[in-house]
């Protein structure tokens, strides 16, 4: 396996953000778009380094094909945007939601784009904002397309983010014992990861940071998206499934493991092995040029042949970047090919009601020759059977 690149903890420089913008503009050119409008806070963060939560006061980033982009934002937030945005921006503000007649965001917005322009919009754009957008609209998720392949900077940030969840996951395995309550595990693991981030990135943007450290005990682990209560208790045996995810100052990563406390039930051995075999097959296939859905197809075939077709609840994996879930998808239906610089999770799962779930997940970088696993946790049944 190739070497893992070094971690990066500094903010993006102007050249990094200008490089992202020029890729977006190349796609604007190809799609003959005069403007592109972005409302999705994730896309705005990607291009500007400014993070916000969507609320009733809209922030709209307007990219002309040439010249400085414009940020339309509430008066109240303009200095906040200025302290975080690290690219050149023109600022246009409106007073409030609502404002007196003629001073609302839509009144100001309509003057920022030429009525005859061809305007690209995101499929996530709210219809209320789309309707207030001048010009002829073309739905094209071009910022999302640029985000598919990561820059060296983004990869370095992700390597750093993985070092934080790797430590969180070690702590999680250390403190999870029969009877331990979810709220205690969560508190300890999250505090550790948050503390490490703040030591290493004192200027971290908390609006772009989030931590989860939780365990699905055997009574829940067959159901990966149910939410344990704070007082859910761990049990002897297993399968327990850990979920340690974070957005570390903007960069989303995950590591998950199936593990056992004290003993491994007889019925768990086969599904654990089948999951491991499907996972190995997925890793064997990881290299540039491979079609994503073919990986999922092979994984499904291995699991199905072992008799667990009905116990597949989800795709093999998903992209990661400035979110913890994004394109591309390691899934039937995604016919894109792997490219060096993509970041994906590999996490085939088998879910048996009444017994539990079997899934390991890692954050994986596609490299020139194959892949590099950026998360680091034990993965064999022996290592994941914790002595009491």
């Amino acid at each position: 396996m190739p070497e893992i690149p070094g971690p990066i903890t500094i903010p993006p420089d102007k050249a990094e953000l200008a490089g992202r913008l020029s890729k977006v503009r190349a796609l604007m050119e190809a799609n003959k778009l005069d403007y592109y409008v972005s409302f999705d806070p994730v896309n705005i963060y990607y291009l500007t380094n400014f993070a916000n939560n969507v609320h009733e006061r809209p922030f709209i980033l307007i990219l002309p094909r040439k010249g400085t982009p414009t940020m339309l934002c509430p008066l109240l937030e303009s200095s906040h945007v200025k302290t975080r945005a690290l690219c050149d921006l023109e600022y246009v503000t409106y007073y409030e939601v609502p404002s007196p007649q003629g001073q609302n965001w839509f009144d100001v917005y309509k003057n920022l784009i030429d009525e005859n322009a061809r305007v690209g919009i995101e499929s996530a754009l709210p219809v209320g904002i789309a309707n207030a957008t001048p010009g002829k609209h073309v739905i094209e998720d071009i910022i999302d397309d640029v985000r598919l392949v990561k820059t060296a900077y983004e990869i370095g940030r992700t390597v750093h983010a993985c070092s934080i969840i790797n430590e969180g996951h070690r702590k999680l395995l250390e403190i999870t014992r029969p009877g331990a309550m979810e709220v205690i595990i969560y508190g300890e693991v999250v505090r550790l990861m948050m503390g490490k981030m703040l030591m290493e990135i004192p200027t971290a943007n908390l609006l772009a940071s989030k931590f989860i450290g939780a365990v699905w005990p055997p009574s829940l682990s067959h159901d990966p998206h149910i939410v344990p209560t704070p007082f859910t208790a761990m049990e002897e045996g297993g399968p327990h499934v850990s979920i340690v995810t974070a957005q570390v100052d903007g960069y989303g990563v995950e590591v998950e493991r199936t593990f056992f406390l004290g003993k491994v039930p007889e019925v768990s051995i086969k599904p654990f092995e089948v999951m491991m075999k499907a996972r190995s097959r997925a890793y064997e296939m990881l290299k540039p040029g491979v079609v994503l859905e073919e990986i999922d197809g092979q994984v499904r075939q291995i699991i199905s042949k072992a008799g667990y077709e009905k116990n597949i609840l989800h795709r093999t994996g998903h992209g990661l970047g400035i979110t913890g879930h994004e394109a591309p998808y390691v899934a039937l239906g995604d016919s894109r090919r792997l490219v060096p610089g993509m970041l994906i999770s590999i996490e085939p799962g088998i879910y048996l009601p009444g017994e539990g779930g079997y899934r390991h997940s890692d954050t994986v970088l596609i490299t020139e020759n194959g892949y590099a696993r950026l998360t680091d946790a034990p993965d064999t049944l022996a290592e994941l059977t914790i002595g009491l």
Copy 2:
């Protein structure tokens, strides 16, 4: 002032949710809508009690004018929805994002609504989902309209949520001293509030719970929406402005105070008094029938007459409910009238660059005869000058 209703900590019963749905259906009837489609997680939570974060796998709630509503959701999440939704629902699932051809969410979705139907959609609906919605679309935010006036149940939940932030704010004033770092104040106050919520509502939904306890010291308090760093330190003097907000198992509330550590700078006395005068005027006007923008107009007049017109950065207040910011708005441009059962913040502010900000905020219920303030914190300059 009228008595404050008692706190409620139990989940909504079927009658509560059925009552909300029938109000939505009355508006569907009035707007001649055959269906209403909701994607906004807040509106889905309001009608079903199921909370989710929007991600690439859509959840869509389809309300026919009669009969049981349908929840379209990913296979992986259906048991999660079922454990939280407390109303009758039909479930339709799709496999994944993406799925093999013909099995995607939009393939399944298009069969759930009649092609000739008149379909109400939210202005927040993403255009990609709007375009996949069959029928003739009418943008009408009718669930948001129903949410304007709270039920007795919602008021009881809000009273409880306020008891939590009241305690958080007392702790904040107790521990905020010159030199104290944001991260410590935040950690202590959030831990206290989270712990109290879990003691009082052990089944609280953590996806619908969120806590903030922070202080803007004088170097930042002139800029209410800037975000302090974790290592921002408190200072002697002031004005400091506290922000304690929470979403307590679904119910959003806030309390904020302008306070001083040890001494009050001479320059702070006038703006503090003007803020208090504007705030008193707002409270004097609070009763059913009053037009919201008239309150903001009077507040602006008092502040402007004192010479601070340019130092107004925001409206007098906003609605609260299952979010911490929603309609109606105590703002120029909102011509609606106060109605008993509305919940609003009252928080006129004056912001002086180089000196600091002046704002108190409370969560306030409109009653038959006036109002009841549900948050409880000291508000005079004497009480808010903390001895060191």
